[in-house]
């Protein structure tokens, strides 16, 4: 019964996804699918961060960094030509084991690059290992210190992307090939594959949502929420709090990196702006609007806000909109807009004002 309650919204989502695709098909507005695909991938970052922030209670201002680690590694591995190093033992070995693919570049030259699957696994693993390594010391910190440390991590990743020739410096990486998941199913930005890619992206989202919904309703999810609720007491109940925080940090980093890999293949490239602090702040903003401990809220807001942003609805006020969202939500509805009680907020605002006016007159 509980299971049914958990999965019915997923079925509803599936229906909606199909419905939207059919609608765009019949109204000839298929171009929306591109942004919907992108929004779907970004939402994977958001729901992973939602579990870390809302359930684990740990803020991260560096998740764009993990997204970028995934994207940059996948992009670099699948574009850099290994032909000149063909005779080195390691490269030969990788070639023999099928980890490399040969192709022709635009001018007919021979290209030898890493196979996307191998690159994807390497990239996601790398992000996981980095998260695991820095997570130990970072998650010992709390509050401002944690926020600043994760922010610092994000900045360093951004700087590395910007200053390393291998990652294309300010230009980033382009001409990233498509990612053949299975024969006939390829993540790529080619026009003909738009509908297919829309479904691939949403399949990824749905799988991610199911995994995370299961997790938060399990023994582990309960333990995570208890850490958020009262860390000391959680520890006294036998929850290894530092290990749980570390694992959920790694898990959300892996989600972000996977999204990074897929977006990079879909867009055919990645640039340093994807690693920027503003991106990380955006992810946090979306989780906050969605209601922190609310995967569905984060998902809905992730899709809506990213879609509007990608459509250019906010124009040159794009970042400003996210800034305003952050402030307004945190001032008036820290539980997210899905639980807002506007009347209560307005009342408390005026009662405080009135109280202060009272104080002032008493002083004079």
């Amino acid at each position: 019964m509980d299971l049914l309650k958990r999965y019915i919204p997923v079925l509803f989502l599936l229906g909606l996804v199909i419905g939207i695709q059919l609608m765009t098909h019949f109204t000839g507005t298929g171009y929306y699918l591109t942004q919907l695909t992108m929004s779907a991938y970004y939402s994977v970052v958001v729901i992973g961060l939602c579990v870390l922030m809302g359930y684990g209670g740990q803020i991260s201002l560096g998740h764009a960094g993990f997204f970028a680690i995934g994207g940059y590694l996948a992009g670099a591995l699948t574009t850099h030509n290994l032909m000149p190093f063909k005779d080195y033992g390691l490269i030969t070995f990788l070639d023999r084991t099928g980890m490399l693919v040969a192709s022709k570049d635009l001018y007919g030259g021979d290209l030898l690059t890493v196979e996307p699957w191998a690159a994807c696994i390497t990239a996601v693993l790398a992000a996981g290992i980095i998260a695991f390594t820095i997570g130990g010391p970072v998650l010992k910190l709390k509050g401002h210190y944690l926020a600043m440390a994760t922010l610092g991590f994000g900045i360093i990743i951004y700087r590395i992307g910007l200053a390393t020739q291998y990652f294309g410096e300010a230009d980033g990486i382009s001409e990233v090939p498509g990612f053949k998941l299975l024969p006939g199913i390829e993540v790529s930005g080619s026009f003909g594959a738009r509908v297919l890619n829309y479904y691939i992206a949403w399949a990824v989202v749905i799988v991610a949502v199911i995994l995370l919904l299961n997790l938060i309703h399990s023994r582990v999810g309960r333990a995570l929420r208890s850490i958020h609720g009262a860390e000391e007491a959680a520890n006294a109940m036998g929850v290894n709090t530092s290990r749980y925080k570390l694992y959920i940090f790694v898990l959300s980093a892996v989600f972000a990196a996977l999204a990074g890999v897929l977006v990079t293949h879909y867009n055919g490239g990645i640039g340093p702006s994807e690693a920027g602090v503003m991106k990380s702040v955006r992810y946090v903003a979306i989780v906050a609007v969605g209601g922190m401990a609310n995967i569905w809220g984060a998902l809905i807001m992730g899709i809506v806000l990213n879609f509007l942003s990608l459509r250019g609805v906010f124009g040159s006020y794009d970042d400003a909109v996210f800034g305003i969202i952050l402030i307004v939500i945190m001032l008036f509805a820290p539980q997210g807009i899905l639980k807002i009680n506007p009347w209560q907020q307005v009342k408390s605002f005026f009662s405080v004002l009135a109280a202060e006016r009272g104080e002032d007159t008493a002083d004079s």
């Binding site: 299971l3 995994l211 995370l212 299961n214 997790l215 399990s218 023994r219 582990v220 999810g221 309960r222 333990a223 929420r225 208890s226 958020h228 609720g229 009262a230 000391e232 007491a233 959680a234 520890n235 006294a236 109940m237 036998g238 929850v239 290894n240 709090t241 694992y247 898990l251 401990a293």
Partner: protein, 254 residues
Amino acid sequence: MALLEIQNLNRRFGGLKAVNNVSFNVEQGSIKAVIGPNGAGKTTLFNLIAGNLPANSGKIYFNHAQINGQKPYQIAKQGISRTYQNIKLFHGMTALENVMLGRHIRSRAGFIAGMLNLPWTWPEEKEIRDKAQEYLNLLGVAECADTEISNLSFGQQRGVEFARALATEPTLLLLDEPAAGLNIYETAEIGRLITKIKESGITVLLVEHDMSLVMDISDEIVVLSFGEKIAEDLPHNIQQNEEVIRIYLGDEDA
């Protein structure tokens, strides 16, 4: 050998000796009370036993194994469970979920099993829920099972915290002022409950201000004053111990 042995335990905060060379034993199956005026170091002692604070020196043995220096969760896994003077429940969770956390060390589903919702975790999850409900029933707070914790009254919150501690099926239960903020009927109820817990085979160590409760239920009493142990005896001897009366009971009369 006693269940819990505390040997020459010391803890300083700057120049203040919060716990000063304290030693005592808690025998298996008994109720032992720690009393003393405010600031005597009772809560610090509890934090040392539960692993929330590191000791400056001294040793704590539980079930023949040294436990000081271990993390709180490791100590909890060995069978020590506690409540707090100022209740520490998990906010944002219901009463039932709070008590379910007590079953954490008695279950084992991990990240992978949780994410994939593997079928073997289903009976485990059901057992966690059923047991948690049982403990809520035992504490008489079954009706608040599905209520978020901050919407409960103080007495109900105490009950839930108590149930959570019991749900771990501890060998040793540490109770930090279980009767604080309760009226005399509720206090009497708590006293009956603690005796019942002891009868079920759980050893209890409690800190309490309510003398009538302490005298009623405890088998032995340790008296602390300014971090030092000044007496350890049977309840009726403590009542007649002149030093105790002077520094502790005498203070209350004044």
